[in-house]
Symmetry: C2
Subunit: 147 residues, 2 copies
DNA sequence: CTAGCTGCAAAGGGTTTGCGGAATG
DNA sequence: CATTCCGCAAACCCTTTGCAGCTAG
């Protein structure tokens, strides 16, 4: 996970190690907690691959999604964001600036509800909405929030 | 909440009680846990208002969202779903049939994480992914799920 | 009466797809 | 070398917007 070989990661999931895919992985790794959109990835790749197209970015992301290398996050706004972090984690979403912050929570107790509904869980995600520190300092107040 | 007057609900949030809006509210109320998409609402309204357009449906939903009458839910698939239920509740999302089931969970302990990040929460939502009872019975097995 | 709404059509933004040519394993 | 992938462009889908006429309060 630390000295990280993109080619190995790709081989592990049976995807061809093309330069573009390696670059996408590295961009995702590098941007880390930034949860980039397809466009942000595209822009980052443009430097190394001036000829790259959106189609390639989306194709690549789709391959990675199918392979389980990353997660797709969608919120009220338009564009999907992509998250390489595979550890169980959750998100704070700032409704002012749109920033997305990774958080780690104690396990939520869902056993009862799963039993009730006879539902086989593969995972869960907690999304907390509100206003981040920076935006609160700038706007100074906002109604109906309870810290 | 039970003998339900759509006109009153609209008046309460300062929206004009037009026939279309009343109908949208009633459709949402009727479809209840079905979490319809804009298109499903449109189709349901078509019967009563053959001339209705998507624009009206989206405009109406937007008004309701701004007024806090409903929530917009987005998942991996394309279209947003709309949820009239304003009580704090969460969702089971079946990855096979796409069905969305309302659930009620004990409160998640987020105080620590909010303090850490100095984040002012306005709400949170837990989404549990997996396979619902019906789909499990039909497919009979699925890997990497832990009940 | 008049602010605000409807319906139409067209545009918008993000994502997907078909195809010929190129590169991987 | 066969398969898979890339890049281009066009298509697609969901959603939004501008505008003219209508309607609720």
């Amino acid at each position: 996970m630390d000295h990280w070989d993109a080619m190995e990661v790709l081989k592990d999931v049976n995807l061809r190690a093309t330069p573009q895919r390696i670059a996408v992985l590295n961009v995702l790794k590098m941007l880390g907690q930034a949860h980039p959109t397809a466009e942000e990835i595209y822009v980052a790749l443009k430097q190394e691959f001036p000829a790259i197209s959106f189609a390639t970015v989306y194709n690549t992301l789709k391959s990675f999604l199918d392979a389980g290398l990353l997660h797709e996050l969608r919120f009220g706004d338009k564009a999907s964001r992509y998250d390489l972090n595979t550890q169980a984690h959750h998100h704070l979403l700032c409704e002012v600036c749109g920033d997305l912050i990774d958080i780690y929570l104690p396990e939520v107790d869902v056993a009862q509800v799963l039993r009730e509904h006879e539902f086989a869980m593969s995972g869960y995600h907690v999304e907390i909405r509100g206003v981040c520190k920076t935006c609160r300092e700038h706007t100074l107040h906002k109604a109906d929030t309870h810290l």
